[in-house]
């Protein structure tokens, strides 16, 4: 299994490198149309062919992967930060604040977040720019997806607060601020890291679902979500199997994330 995990790490690093340097690796800008060659088959010039509008599919896949792979971690960071602030403080302070924070977490958990997300996402202005739409989509994912992480972080912080070394530090007269910074936060790091890494594939898949429904990143900016809309025309996909590349890449990357960070999650829990 270790060998498989190592392979997953290599694949992830290769994918991240390719998408980070998409400007140099991609043969064409993502919005450039080759009007003489719409729906072209793969060739030396277009590695994955072109789409209906004559745009290079390989370039769009690279840029789309960049959008999903850079913004999903940003959304995960936002949700982990919110969860750390609410859950971490609740676990650290305990008492009424903890009960209040847990009630807020329960309330947030009981709301169907995809329904809420669709509600808020649908109310974006009609003339929003592609860059704003992508930022807002992922910011919403991060802002609404903190609750389950918050509960786990709260129980982690509570366990640390009740541990012997914290009691000893308190008996020695350490200030609450120093206790939080020097004792609680460093020991909470594995839980925070696990929540961060496990949130990434969740947000990638959520964006893909929104994108297929036409509520994700606005065209012409590509993302895995709107690239997957190409799968809706099955006869065309059947005739041109290279159009499956976005879903294959999504499955490969999400599997790699799960393989690599499964151990971290188990350790943290």
């Amino acid at each position: 299994m270790n060998r498989v995990r190592r392979l997953a790490v290599i694949l992830l690093i290769a994918t991240f490198t390719a998408v980070l340097f998409a400007d140099f690796v991609a043969p064409a800008p993502y919005a450039k149309q080759f009007r003489e060659a719409p729906n072209a088959a793969p060739s030396g010039k277009h590695l994955l062919g072109t789409d209906d509008l004559g745009r290079d599919s390989f370039s769009r896949l690279l840029y789309g992967s960049r959008v999903s792979l850079l913004l999903a971690p940003a959304a995960a960071l936002l949700s982990t930060l919110i969860a750390a602030c609410i859950g971490g403080l609740a676990g650290y302070l305990g008492g009424r604040f903890e009960r209040l924070a847990l009630a807020a977490t329960d309330l947030s958990l009981s709301l169907p977040w995809l329904f809420l997300l669709l509600t808020v996402r649908a109310l974006l202005p009609l003339n929003v720019s592609p860059l704003a739409s992508v930022t807002i989509t992922f910011a919403l994912l991060g802002a609404l997806g903190w609750s389950s992480s918050g509960r786990i972080i709260c129980s982690g912080a509570r366990a640390i607060r009740q541990s012997d070394f914290v009691l000893q530090a308190q008996s020695l007269g350490i200030s609450p601020y120093r206790l939080l910074l020097r004792q609680i936060l460093p020991n909470l790091e594995p839980v925070l890291a696990a929540q961060f890494w496990t949130s990434i594939p969740i947000f990638i898949i959520a964006e893909a679902n929104l994108g297929i429904l036409g509520l994700g990143v606005a065209e012409p900016l590509p993302s895995w979500g709107n690239l997957l809309r190409g799968l809706e025309n099955w006869p065309e996909v059947k005739a041109s199997p290279w159009k499956l590349a976005p879903i294959l890449m999504l499955v490969a990357v999400v599997s790699c994330f799960q393989l690599v960070f499964q151990k971290r999650e188990e350790f943290a829990s």
Binding site: L111, F115, A122, I212
Partner: protein, 288 residues
């Protein structure tokens, strides 16, 4: 007595629905673009018409006011009127909800049974090849967005409930495998094995009953998973349920419909979670 928990669950449900509705209304109110109507982009309309459209949304600008009017209507059984379909929301629910409840019930039952039956041998016998095979299978389905699964089912000629089952099963498999594996490692289970009890008897008399409260809770969570998956699946499968209605409402910015759907699904998922919790408590009580 487990019945004493019932009022507490009902109180929590009512409170969560009220607060959740307010939260939903607040989120909607402060979302960028609130009050923007796509008819404003119609070049055939003059400035007075556009102003009239804007004025028609002005009553929704105060969150508390909007929510108060909504709650008053709710108590009279009036859920408002869908702005995009121009029909009472209650009527739309009456038409669409049974179809979704049917597909979600089938999907949850199928997905739960499949995931649980797959997890049983994985947790009890720890066969390496079986473990690997089931881990790959569940991992693959975990990586697929619900909408893609819906597309696959449409092309294969399957029902929407099958796609929901395929979304639910990998999560049920992973959680129930962990729950059962933990129950199978308890000292009294090891003692039962050491005393030579038949593995099936150990499973039925010692492992499953002790894992049951957590499995009930998992069943409750599966309901909310299924409703979450129902939106993309029903939209893709062209299935006339609540999920498709939500998608259409999201595309046409139908605020009354979206807030009502969110509240409805909150009530259903909370009721399912409370029921599973109470079942778990009642079962644990019976064992004592």
């Amino acid at each position: 007595m487990w019945l004493r928990y019932v009022p507490k669950h009902i109180f929590r449900l009512v409170l969560t629905v009220l607060l959740g509705g307010l939260l939903g209304a607040t989120l909607v109110r402060f979302a960028p673009g609130f009050g923007v109507d796509e008819r404003e982009l119609d070049s055939r309309l003059n400035s007075q018409s556009i102003e009239a459209i804007r004025q028609s949304h002005s009553s929704q600008h105060n969150v508390l006011g909007y929510y108060g009017v909504y709650l008053k209507g709710l108590l009279r059984g009036n859920l408002g009127v869908s702005t995009s379909l121009d029909r009472p929301v209650a009527q739309l629910f009456a038409e669409r909800l049974p179809a979704t409840l049917r597909s979600v019930a089938k999907g949850v039952t199928g997905g739960f049974l499949f995931g649980f039956l797959l997890a049983l041998p994985a947790a009890m016998f720890r066969w390496r090849a079986y473990d690997l095979l089931t881990a790959v299978l569940s991992g693959l389905f975990l990586c697929l967005p619900a909408a893609v699964l819906g597309l696959g089912i449409v092309y294969a000629g399957g029902a929407a409930s099958l796609a929901i089952a395929l979304v639910v099963f990998p999560r049920v498999f992973q959680y129930s495998r962990n729950i059962l594996a933990q129950a199978a490692e308890r000292p009294y289970v090891l003692a039962a094995h050491a005393r030579g009890l038949h593995p099936m008897r150990v499973l039925l008399r010692h492992v499953l009953p002790n894992a049951a409260p957590l499995l009930f809770a998992l069943a409750g969570i599966s309901v909310s998973m299924a409703f979450g998956a129902a939106i993309p699946i029903e939209a893709i499968c062209d299935y006339p349920g609540i999920g498709q209605l939500t998608w259409q409402a999201a595309l046409s910015r139908d605020l009354p419909l979206l807030v009502n759907v969110t509240l409805l699904i909150t009530i259903i998922t909370l009721a399912a979670n409370s029921a599973s919790d109470l079942f778990g408590k009642a079962f644990a009580r019976q064992r004592i």
